[in-house]
Amino acid sequence: EAGVVQSPRYKIIEKKQPVAFWCNPISGHNTLYWYRQNLGQGPELLIRYENEEAVDDSQLPKDRFSAERLKGVDSTLKIQPAELGDSAVYLCASSLGRFGNNEQFFGPGTRLTVL
């Protein structure tokens, strides 16, 4: 069974440019998460979806970040315009349940470099 798929794996852009990341979760997983992981840090939650509904986006910088999960399956995370401080690894994860003791399955991440 395929795991969480993310693309692209790497992205280099200049500041002020837009960028988008795509995630395909494990089949049947209704809960989807986007995390940001800065160098030397643990992942930090940006947004959580239950099916197509964003139920927690409190950590998402809404002035420049947006996300969608059409039809409750694939998801995209967009940054427009990107800033130097957005350089990080963006991880997507999915789980069967929504509570903290459920296993989250992570994709390999997209490493974003903003020049």
Partner: protein, 111 residues
Amino acid sequence: TQLLEQSPQFLSIQEGENLTVYCNSSSVFSSLQWYRQEPGEGPVLLVTVVTGGEVKKLKRLTFQFGDARKDSSLHITAAQPGDTGLYLCAGAWGSNYKLTFGKGTLLTVNP
């Protein structure tokens, strides 16, 4: 915001040595998970603990959850180069679904 502290931040040891990594919070966890992350990959779940005093073993890895459910440790016996990676603890508090990750312990096991 709940804070979760991990120590040490970095650990470099020789093959065959034992090591322990710690995870602490000032608040009681409802559950705690340990993940391992290899370079260029996402974290992979190792174990979930929910009961105070719980001990779980995974081959050479032993996980303990403190009686008060405020701390946890990961002990590796006879470390091998394949154990190299970033070890992350992640905790949830109360009925919150949200996992908060620690900064991780970067372990290097030298042959």
